[in-house]
Symmetry: D2
Subunit: 360 residues, 4 copies
């Protein structure tokens, strides 16, 4: 089965392969009247775009988005959403014509090649086809639209760990995040990571990373218990990103090592809403937002594409060895930052509408 | 919004509150012709049932399930599913009449009380109402039906860590799991945990836990990329369980600390299917099963109900203090084991049907 | 496949067979805070209940509904919805133990017996099992809850034609509808129908009917174009009722015989909203409500259960003859009236919430 | 709310406005391995294309479809579906730049203008925007893909009535359908219709039509009772087509005028499956296919765009008069034929997959 739609009221459907003519997203259910043009989306795509430093893949894609439907310029000349589906398209321009005969015949270990073939019996093997991380450009574009639907929320993600080397919370400086090629809020860590990632790159190896994302301004009450809980939807959204293997809300696995007293989030009266004295829960209780910042941590595995040859099999079941040629991210987690932000925005926009629908 | 249905083809809807007359599940989409009676479900409910040791809540509920629809005994006298919705009901028998005036007036910290009130403006405060872990009985019952739909799969979960004390993989003995009140596969760890949990219990405190679940026999090819990936669905299923704050597939967060070489899962030709030399990926690549065991790790926070008073607020916004009276699990993760297994079964049954529908 | 859930935000799932222990519905997504107890539902079930005149089946079912979840009595003692799933159960009390050996072996023509067997390979043949019109009791109960969510709307249905004999619009008197056993707004027609239906009943035959339903008070703007249009959802809702073979919105098939001028619904300024000079469209344009009354006409075929023997086949494929013994409605359309009303309420409640979610 | 996705397993999402740069559909869930290129879709679009006779609108659109994803040419050079989403795009080339100031200010009676404004508060008024029948090109393209997934089924639609003038069943000749501009299987009727439609066209008026559609080869067992019944899904699919006001399955409203004996569909043993002696039911019982031809009748209202001025109101609520300038179909039902066929194919493809998923 193939399911390429995400969301309940604020929904998006993506399409496209790594080496096809284009990829895109259809955003459906977006509220009408929001100012939207390409310029509102492009900065987020630019943030995700490859080839911006030596620490990411050198594939060159301008990733220019076009809006094909769902907007209209009214008498004031401002283009706005009309409430109808918004079709976003990004053309693929850097489809190097190269020799795919090897990847056509054998399965790259750690990639989805074998699984897709086992499922569909037939696959577009060029650059991973549909399973390529290139598809996340469509999510980022859709996420940019979602942000417009939740102006009360501020979303910010950063890399908090690379190759097992974590940032020092004491050094956290939000202003640093966009000052280095790692989206790293700790300047000292960014320097160390430059060495770690460069070493991996030069060795044809790769390293993993952890991305942290925080959404502030989420009011209490969003969430759809019991099987559309805000945290469950976030977990699905994040685990569905390429290369992600773990998701934590709030303290996550660390909470499993705390006592009930240590893990408590006591409350006291606040100005306009209760004030919480801690946020171990990551802003969600019982699947519903509490008004505190919603915090998620996402683990990215090291890129599977490495130069060291690995044992694998051909489509015919013969033993062979493969290593990955071509341009790859030594640390896919870095470019995961705008994707994590986009998925956060998409989940929150959906839950805002769901809440308003039932309880508005 | 309220969304109490899970799954796409094999779906279930649960209903019921902690202190209402009953709770239940409607399982829809189950294939016809599967032998099903109450005896096929009851053992799983018994495994989850409280009051079986001093390490779990003393609430006494027989949790007897009744099947109200969707089955029929044919000429051979064997009751089988008919393909129509299966209604499962469990009556609540231990609804102690007690004084709820305190919990009616103020929000228990760490619980969903405040969030539900912020969302719905009105709540059933008795025993947590709909947000009570009591609802998981309905999931366990539904999960027992799901298991019948995937006879090729064996699902087994255990507690792998309590209060930060992990099992020793070298001591792993599957036969031990049902030999102790902790579903612990490491006899030595079980002894230590008895002290840890008992200490927490006597102190009116609580501890967290990690549950590991493994499904063997899942064929390659199940999964619905890109927004119904098998791992994403598992993440949602697990994160939606009460008290869960983290989910890992395969190596999870540990993978983020490995190099690409260390994290590789090389393949070689096998008897009937490729043989993998490692399973860092947890049996899933690109959101699709690979034929290896599907492995998940789930972090449970310590029970929020503790005897130490905590700062909180009343419904009227006044400052107050609360501690939790009554019967509670000092470690909710323990009773999470059958729930994790149930959710694994439900996700897999759904994906089996989805795969057969599109690719069958 | 089996799909027993209807609706997007205001959703219900039904379960149960004609001769099982009970049947029911789980209503999910209902807004919180609505006063709801059994007394708010029972009158609608009573209206649908069989055995109230000689013109309907003599099966005796008290059809007492129980609410098992989703409501809570607050400090004012009034029981209200909490926003969580509302489980409704109706026990089957009149399950006559009779001999089903004939129906077990052969397929009743015009019934779903053969189709269910072709689909599931196995069926509960007692009284039609899941395909029995008895399931509509669950819809009527769910519909009663839906009405509470749309207090601005008034829904009224009646029988407008029986056995090809239509009411005279000039005789329409809403007050007559509940004055006769046919829900007939035309007293003269009711007298004629008494003869028509009685004749069919005595002959062991059956007649068809047309039910008309009107919802007033629906504001302009409800509807989810393009694939959740209000009229498309109503068409699905009505066509899904047992024995229904046709659905019209507004003028329906008659509109296909009009010219563009005759079919026009001109507008002029009104007090608070535009005033329409006609309503050929039945209150819906482009799948969205216009503020005019929403009108639907629904065709019920004659009951398939008749005394005249019909050619059919056994499960083994042998030729045989069958006629229907037992208690049956000579005109199922009559008891369809509360079912049509319920489905109208359920569709409108869903669309109210959907509209509020996206455009609220 | 906006819901632009149709189907459960075989799903499609459409996007685009009448006067935007393009429109399209994303088909998701299509089985892998089906030979698919533009040439497999184009003939169906050509059949629907306007401007092919004086009896349809003179808008000239080549309606060339492009496949942007979801297909791949394997070693044999044949392009096949891969099981991933298929993106179809049709560029709008005949967007006449004309003066829209009048339609921007006032609501065309009978059109969706007022309803869209009431819903979204803002609309693309050029050519009806999203509510234009131009969107049906995307359905037709998606339907062409659906046909590939159900090779066992043959779908054929025709116009059976125009302006109240019905074909004579005795004259039915399938070979005639493509011999005249009306998709009329009765040569004599086609001649009469030429006069009727031409008269309407010259008078700036319009006429309604009825389209009949038949699918043969549908095996017994497709359908998803109770709330995804095959007939209910067909009703939604057809009622959701622009200008449709009524849907009948089998005998439809005529069945409501038959007795149970007249309406019976007796069975007798057949070669490979039961043989039915009649098909009043239109091939569906209890929401499940019976193996007989599935037959649907669909009523199209007369085009709302006429030259006679009609009373209406401006956006500001002032009284005014409007008539429709520009190019319009005097009988939209004619071009509805390929759209009805497409929706039939899409519903059947979905149900084939659903059935295989649960009962395969």
């Amino acid at each position: 089965m193939s399911f390429n739609t995400f969301g309940r009221l604020f929904r998006f459907t993506t399409w496209g392969e790594s080496h096809g003519p284009a990829l895109g997203a259809v955003v459906d259910g977006c509220p009408p009247g929001l100012a939207l043009d390409e310029a509102a989306i492009q900065p987020f795509l630019d943030k995700r775009r490859p080839g911006q430093s030596k620490f990411t893949t050198q594939r060159q894609e301008p990733d220019q988005v076009r809006i094909l439907s769902g907007v209209f310029a009214g008498p004031d000349g401002i283009q706005r959403t009309t409430g109808t589906p918004i079709s976003l398209m990004i053309e693929n321009t850097d489809q190097r014509s190269k020799d795919y005969s090897e990847v056509a015949k054998a399965y790259r270990p750690g990639h989805a090649d074998y699984a897709y073939d086992a499922k569909y019996g037939f696959r577009d093997y060029r650059g991973g086809g549909r399973s390529s991380a290139r598809e996340t450009a469509a999510r980022v574009a859709a996420g940019a639209v979602a942000r417009l639907a939740i102006p009360e929320v501020t979303i910010r993600a950063w890399v908090s760990e690379i190759g097992g080397d974590a940032i020092d919370p004491a050094n956290f400086d939000a202003a640093e995040i966009d000052n280095n090629p790692f989206f790293c809020p700790d300047a000292a860590a960014a320097e160390r990571w430059a060495r770690i990632v460069d070493e991996a790159r030069l060795a044809g190896s790769s390293v993993g990373a952890v991305v942290t994302c925080e959404a502030t301004g989420v009011p209490a009450g969003w969430g759809a218990p019991l099987y559309g809980k805000l945290d469950a939807d976030l977990a699905a959204a994040m685990m569905g990103i390429n290369a992600v293997k773990g998701v934590e809300i709030g303290d996550g696995f660390a909470a499993a090592r705390l006592s009930g007293e240590q893990n408590a989030d006591p409350m006291r009266p606040g100005e306009t809403a209760p004030e919480f004295l801690a946020n171990h829960a990551g802003g969600i209780a019982g699947g519903i937002s509490t008004g505190q910042p919603v915090t998620v941590r996402v683990a990215f595995k090291p890129t599977s594409s490495i130069l060291t040859p690995q044992q694998t099999i051909t489509r015919d079941g013969e033993a062979t060895e493969m290593f990955t040629k071509g341009r790859h991210d030594p640390c896919v987690g870095i470019r995961g930052v705008p994707v994590v932000e986009a998925m956060m925005a998409l989940v929150l926009a959906d839950h805002k509408l769901l809440h308003r629908g039932q309880c508005g």
